[in-house]
């Protein structure tokens, strides 16, 4: 066995051992929910096939998965980037909504501008609006030390009211039965990568973001400082790190990502502002972030898995009348078992 082969096997071994707890958690979670489904009288194997297979059976299913992956991964990163520094951004929903509002505003008010100008402007506005929405909580943390969990969450509820207002009073589309605005200009729509089934280029943006975030947190001095701050903010401060500024910065970064996710939904999926576009992406994003244990390199993969489950969940609801919350419970259980696994490992050492 050559040295190179031995090294490769060692890496695979380490990867395998790292993935084992996830595999176990996944199996146990599925087993538990399967049991419940069986007790309720559902065809368990068909449910399993639907939830896991829908993404891969048709090209439409796969594209749907990718489209869902984009906001999930961005929301997850919006949560995990501040988490590196030890801060909890639970406001991704509100930031996403406000980002969408800003993007839609630009798209509607400047509807006649051509694509190369309108689209970047629209996306940029989304980013800035997301940052704006987290600025309040971030500043309160910076200046007064106010706990950010609460302030970010409260702004989510505020954002719900705001989007309701915008979608019903300002640019309302009178023909829609649900609070919705008129469409944005064609120049604001993300071009499609594939037309049948339609897959928008937001995917490329998301991929770029994933890479940028990874490089930033793992390979820069600022990334080191965020990590140190999260590990022990007091020690970080004692050794010269600008801890409060880092908190502020990490939250703003998170807000920017969440705002971008909102802008992409407007520019790529809906073409207008729809109340409820935030769906349950925040929850999924946080669960993704927690399952990935805050590791920005693992997040995109976990996010993809969650996207697969979510696509499966709608299929489950459509074809077997199993409520979507079941999937949510699966995801929550996976999270709990992954966390438990850590405890078991700690106990054994």
């Amino acid at each position: 066995m050559t040295e190179g082969m031995r090294l490769r096997l060692a890496v695979i071994g380490r990867l395998g051992r790292g993935l084992l707890p996830y595999l176990l958690s996944f199996l146990v979670a599925f087993a538990v929910v399967g049991l419940v489904l069986a007790l309720l009288g559902f065809d368990v194997w068909r449910a399993y096939r639907t939830i896991l297979g829908t993404s891969f059976r048709t090209s439409n299913g796969f594209v749907q998965t990718l489209i869902k992956w984009i906001p999930i991964v961005l929301q997850a990163l919006a949560f995990t980037v501040p988490l590196v520094a030890g801060k909890f951004n639970i406001g991704g929903e509100g930031q996403m909504i406000v980002g969408a509002i800003g993007a839609a505003a630009v798209g509607i008010l400047l509807a006649d501008l051509p694509l190369p100008i309108l689209l970047p402007l629209l996306l940029l506005t989304g980013v800035l609006c997301g940052m704006l929405w987290v600025l309040g909580p971030a500043w309160l943390l910076y200046r007064f030390g106010v706990n950010e969990i609460l302030t970010t969450v409260l702004l989510n509820f505020t954002a719900f009211e705001l989007i309701d207002f915008v979608a019903t009073k300002i640019w309302a589309d009178p023909r829609a039965g649900h609070p919705t605005t008129v469409a944005i200009g064609a120049g604001g729509m993300l071009p499609l990568l594939v037309t049948r089934p339609p897959l928008h280029s937001g995917l490329l943006i998301a991929l770029a973001i994933v890479i940028i975030v990874y490089v930033y947190t793992h390979h820069t001095a600022v990334g080191y400082e965020l990590l140190a701050t999260g590990a022990n903010p007091r020690a970080a401060r004692v050794f010269g790190l600008p801890v409060r500024r880092l908190f502020l910065f990490s939250l703003l970064f998170g807000g920017a990502l969440a705002g971008l996710s909102g802008a992409i939904e407007v520019a790529g999926v809906h073409g207008r502002l729809i109340a409820g576009l935030q769906s349950n992406f925040l929850l999924l994003g946080i669960i993704t972030g927690l399952i990935a244990k805050g590791n920005n390199a693992a997040v995109p993969f976990v996010a993809f898995f969650i996207a697969v489950l979510e696509v499966g969940a709608s299929a489950l609801q459509r074809t077997m009348a199993i409520p979507g919350e079941m999937t949510f419970i699966v995801e929550a259980l996976i999270l709990i078992f992954v966390l438990l696994n850590d405890v078991v490992r700690r106990y054994r050492s």
């Binding site: 820069t220 001095a221 080191y224 999260g230 020690a235 004692v238 050794f239 010269g240």
Partner: protein
């Protein structure tokens, strides 16, 4: 002694993971005696007593209380058996009063309406009887360390313990307070109690203990009456072959290193430093200089402004009217990061809290504060992982840090190794100024020797060190000059030839020289 022993511990074993903290320890405590438990840090003294007090469960062995085999599963049970313990780090609630702290966990009189006046009277009586005066209504956070220790002792006396364990009780006391404590201990022993005195200070053991036991590496080596022992014998058992006593710094009993050359070019100059202290003692009008090749010691009872002084110099606390120069450069307005980069290294007193990143790798811990300097970072701000790992490997080897490697999670390190990481971080480069606050506290003897030798090495290299320590012996051993800090002010500076333990003790207590 023909009396039945109060406590007999037989065959006690305790392991923490792979570390065997106690191996087959047999120990007996009698009434009417002060029993000294001596050994370096890590020898197992506190662990053994924590077992007796029900904080740790022994892996094997039996405890006999007044001849009866007993299992002690918690401090509550220990107290029920008449065993009390005063820990090194006081277990008090700062926001509560003395009486509330003492009475916590006991069935309170006149339930359910809590009326503490009878309790307060009883506390005052006890305090007076044993020479441990204290005001039962005072809030803990307003009291000095010496008084807080009396509260700790009263907690046990209030519960009428028969055997009182004191873990390194003199750490925060002035020499005069130490004498007062010893008097109180004798009063307790005369009243029929048994006192267990855990310490690593030989002088104290020889001064107050009737019987002495020596532990090393979790094993009991001897138990003899004091009259049969000499300091030299005890030292030999404490260190065994770990340290060459002939070349030891710690046990040399005399001042170390050559006298610093005069004149010394000043490295650190502090003028008129005032540091605000929200919870601690504010520091007032400090002026001092530390010269190249000098070890400047700062003596004082803990809590008299040491932490504030250090943080003021580092720029971590709001200060006013101060001027600071480092090697002639004015750093009064510089940020902490800038001051560190200008040439200051820092070893904090509370390693876990102020200097350690538990969730990060060992390599990352080693570059904290240095991470933006080459070779660890490029000028564009990218981390150079290879340089970080390589330098970490060197540090690990040089400082004998026991770890699986640079990528190992730092939370896996033991306390002594955490300190080594701090030191490696501070000592690798010939930094002009080192600020070290209690660098040897809690470390075993070989580690203490290692630190002393590095500090003396810095002297030889012409570098400056500001050494703050609660251990007066340590300062007397190593410093060229000693400044005494009392209530945030420097009340006296002595040069080597003037070193006098009791005079320093008076200054530490605020007794002016001109009396």
């Amino acid at each position: 002694m023909n009396e039945q022993p109060l406590i007999r511990m037989e065959g006690i074993r305790k392991a923490f993971g792979p570390v065997q903290a106690l191996s087959d320890v047999d120990l007996t405590f009698q009434a009417h005696e002060v029993h000294g438990l001596v050994g370096g840090n890590g020898a197992g003294k506190t662990t053994l007593m924590n077992v007796l007090y029900g904080l740790y469960k022994p892996d094997a062995g039996t405890i006999y209380v007044r001849g009866q085999a007993t299992t002690i599963r918690s401090p509550r049970e220990a107290l029920a058996h008449g065993i009390g313990m005063v820990h090194q780090h006081f277990l008090q609630i700062p926001a509560f009063t003395v009486a509330e702290n003492i009475v916590l966990g006991t069935p309170l009189p006149a339930r359910p309406l809590m009326d503490l006046s009878t309790v307060e009277k009883r506390i005052a009586q006890l305090a007076h009887h044993f020479g441990l005066e204290v005001d039962p209504r005072a809030r803990i956070e307003d009291l000095s360390m010496g008084v807080r220790q009396r509260v700790e002792i009263l907690k046990a006396l209030y519960r009428q313990v028969q055997i009182l364990i004191l873990d390194e009780p003199t750490t925060h006391l002035t020499p005069q307070e130490v004498d007062s404590l010893f008097e109180s201990l004798r009063k307790m022993v005369d009243a029929g109690m048994s006192v267990v005195f855990i310490t690593h200070k030989l002088r104290e053991v020889m001064a107050v203990c009737d019987t002495i036991s020596v532990l090393r590496d979790g094993r009991l080596l001897l138990t003899r009456p004091r009259t049969e022992l000499s300091e030299a014998m005890i030292v030999r058992h404490m260190v065994g072959t770990d340290v060459d006593i002939g070349r030891s710094v710690l046990f040399s009993g005399r001042q170390q290193g050559d006298e610093a050359p005069t004149p010394m070019p000043p490295v650190l100059e502090v003028q008129g430093l005032w540091v605000a202290g929200e919870e601690g003692t504010p520091v007032k009008n400090i002026t001092l200089t530390v010269g190249a090749g000098e070890i400047m010691g700062i003596a004082g009872v803990a809590g008299n402004g040491q932490q504030e002084l250090v943080e003021g110099i580092l720029g971590l606390r709001p200060t006013r009217q101060q001027r600071l120069w480092l090697q002639g450069r004015d750093i009064s307005a510089a940020s902490t990061a800038q001051r560190l980069a200008a040439g200051i290294a820092y070893v904090p007193e509370d390693r876990q809290r102020d200097g350690f990143l538990p969730g990060a790798s060992v390599a990352y811990n080693l570059i904290l504060g240095l991470h933006r300097q080459t070779p660890y970072s490029t000028r564009r701000g990218f981390l150079n992982h290879r340089a970080v790992t390589e330098s970490a490997r060197q540090h690990i080897a040089q400082f004998h840090i026991r770890t699986r490697g640079p990528e190992d999670i730092a939370a896996n390190l033991s306390g002594g190794n955490i300190q080594r990481v701090m030191l490696a971080r501070a000592l690798t480069r010939p930094v002009p100024l080192l600020i070290a606050h209690n660098p040897t506290s809690g470390l075993d003897i070989p580690s203490v020797e290692f630190i002393y030798s590095r500090l003396l090495e810095r002297k030889r290299q012409g570098l400056a060190t500001l050494l703050l320590s609660d251990d007066l012996d340590e300062l007397l051993l190593l410093s060229d000059r000693i400044a005494v800090l009392y209530r945030g002010e420097i009340v006296g500076i002595l040069i080597r030839s003037q070193f006098d333990r009791y005079q320093i003790g008076r200054l530490m207590s605020g007794v002016s020289d001109h009396d």
